[in-house]
């Protein structure tokens, strides 16, 4: 459905995208993951035809974005990072305008509006001025706009940024419900979000693809890791020594900045949590908290980039 080949984009002397290639089949959900400035937005903008690539090709449903922009744009619904709203219009007038711009057939405009209003939960604010809406409703209006012509492809740039937790869950569920016959690309800098919604993930950094992962593989960064954090009423060297004696433990030490908290790195995929707790309790330590160490995006990047370095050496 979407075929990206050797995409390069330069902004003056800065190379924003460096040789990006990937393909996406019909019905798949792809996530772009990366820190700010990684090239997520630039890639999306090129696919949607908002900006032109410096070199390389993008084909959407067989049409080249540069040569047949109109054909491509008809198939895509796009929600930019800042929802493109006219603050002085009401939600329903705005949706009508976008429908006309997207050449939705006259007879279908009002039924399409009703459909997306229902889908995005905008029923109560339909006749309100967009400028007076809360951030969450603005985001939904943006999403409704992207859906108005019932596109085969949806491209969503950080659809949950700036929303409160309840709204984030609602938007995520909405995106999930849209999947199926639609092909979706979405970007985020939040790892769990991508993991929850996407089937495959492209991790970008500094304009390059660092890694292409299937969702299942991605989960190893989240739960399959063998790093733990333990907080006790009292932690000392003696406990560290006895933990270190376990043969699967690679490293153990105090967590700086936290009182009586230790970290444990273990090798292999075997679960040693039970053993760890048993050791603590048998030695009369009281465990207050035990958890898998949080994996932040930074950790994943560190891991991926250092792995790459090792490979190149």
């Amino acid at each position: 459905m979407i075929e990206v080949r050797n995409l390069i984009k330069n902004y003056g002397a800065i190379r924003a995208l460096d040789d990006i290639s990937f393909t996406l089949n019909k019905g798949e959900i792809l996530g772009f993951l990366g820190p700010n400035g990684a090239g997520k937005t630039t890639t999306m903008r090129i696919i949607t035809g908002f900006i032109s690539p410096s070199s390389g090709t993008v084909k959407v449903a067989g049409y080249d974005v540069v040569e047949h922009p109109i054909q491509v744009k008809k198939k895509i619904g796009y929600l930019p990072e800042t929802p493109p709203l006219y603050n002085e219009m009401t939600v329903s007038k705005y949706l009508k305008y976008v429908a006309e711009l997207k050449d939705v057939h006259k007879d279908r405009i009002s039924s399409n509006i009703d459909k997306v209003v229902e889908l995005c939960g905008l029923k109560d604010v339909k006749d309100r001025i967009i400028g007076n809406l809360s951030k969450g409703f603005k985001q939904r209006t943006g999403l409704a706009q992207a859906l108005i012509n019932d596109p085969e492809i949806l491209i969503l740039d950080e659809p949950t940024s700036g929303l409160d937790p309840k709204q984030i869950i609602e938007i995520r569920n909405l995106i999930k419900s849209l999947a199926g016959e639609r092909t979706i690309i979405l970007s985020s800098h939040i790892l769990p979000e991508i993991q929850m919604t996407c089937e495959s993930v492209i991790i970008l950094n500094k304009g390059k693809i660092v890694s292409v992962e299937h969702q299942k593989n991605l989960s190893k960064y989240l739960t399959g890791n063998n790093s733990y954090e333990m907080t006790l009423t009292k932690a000392d060297e003696k406990l560290l020594r006895s933990i270190k004696d376990l043969d699967k433990v690679l490293d153990v030490g105090f967590i700086s900045g936290k009182d009586n908290a230790i970290y444990i790195d273990a090798k292999g995929h075997d679960d040693i949590r039970a053993q760890l707790i048993k050791i603590a309790i048998c030695n009369n330590y009281e465990v207050l908290e035990f958890k898998n160490k949080d994996v932040t995006l930074e950790d994943v990047f560190l891991k991926l980039t250092t792995q790459e370095d090792v490979n190149t050496i």
Binding site: K9, R45, T48, G49, F50, I51, S52, P53, S54, V66, P69, I70, Q71, K73, K74, I76, Y78, P80, T82, P84, L85, Y86, N87, E88, M89, Y97, V98, E100, L101, K102, D103, Q145
Partner: protein, 255 residues
């Protein structure tokens, strides 16, 4: 073309959502109304004096009232058109809605034309409102309506040129004030360019006269629709709009 009209319609309505549409219309009618009234009083007094002293009145209604009135309209355009064109594209860029327009199945050229038409509709509407003045003269007197007609044709063409300049500057900046100032300066320069003609060589003089936007209005003021002048105005608009299109494409990085 159909999609250009969608944009034109929406932007035309936007003029009347914000106060700007009403402001343009009312200030326009206030100034031209005042001018019309003063000119009319003057003409009536002259005719009265003429009838008392027995001197024949040589001025016609057209010369004494209509022509000066349209000089005023032209001057008002110079100030008002930068104000109505400044937001057309800069606002879309600033509000990030340009991203919507450019990812809709619509070309940059259609966007430019739509924006241009929206401002042209507003100006045409104000011009239609000023038709009251010749109508009043028509009811009470016997003005040359043919000349009035050509003047309106000329004014629409002239304002189209001004608007196209405004659209062009609006594509190049996110800042409305900068767009307005640059439009005003460009229009002013086009106005005063023929002052430089006297001090130049023969060739320069004729070139400057050809470029001068006001010279080409003269024939319309005299009651003629001159093909040469019409072509000048139409090509002026086309070039300015084409440059606007190039401006957008350049920013998309496709040039």
């Amino acid at each position: 073309m159909k999609r250009s009209f969608v944009i034109a319609k929406k932007d035309f309505k936007t003029y009347f959502i914000s106060p700007i549409g009403y402001l343009v219309l009312s200030s326009f009618l206030l100034v031209t109304g005042f001018m019309f009234y003063q000119r009319l009083l003057f003409f009536v007094r002259q005719s009265f004096i003429g009838s008392q002293t027995g001197e024949p009145v040589t001025a016609t209604l057209n010369d004494a009232i209509i022509k000066p009135l349209y000089g005023t309209i032209n001057l008002l355009f110079l100030f008002l058109i930068p104000l109505i064109t400044m937001r057309l594209i800069s606002e879309e860029k600033k509000q990030k809605t340009m991203e919507l327009l450019l990812t809709c199945p619509i070309s940059s050229g259609q966007i430019v034309v739509g924006k241009f038409l929206s401002a042209l509709f507003l100006i045409t509407l104000t011009l239609v409102c000023t038709l009251t003045y010749p109508l009043i003269l028509y009811i009470g007197g016997n003005p040359d309506m043919g000349q009035v007609f050509t003047m309106y044709i000329g004014l629409v063409l002239l304002s189209a040129c001004y608007i196209s300049v405004g659209v062009f500057w609006s594509t190049l900046t996110e800042n409305q004030i900068i767009a307005a100032v640059l439009t005003f300066i460009s229009l002013l320069f086009l106005w005063i360019i023929d002052w430089g003609a006297q001090n130049s060589s023969q060739l320069m003089t004729s070139t400057i006269y050809y470029i001068s936007i006001m010279r080409h209005f003269e024939s319309f003021g005299e009651g003629m629709i001159n093909i040469k002048d019409t072509v000048y105005y139409l090509s002026f608009c086309s070039i300015a709009l084409y440059l606007s299109y190039l401006g957008i494409e350049k920013q998309r990085g496709s040039l």
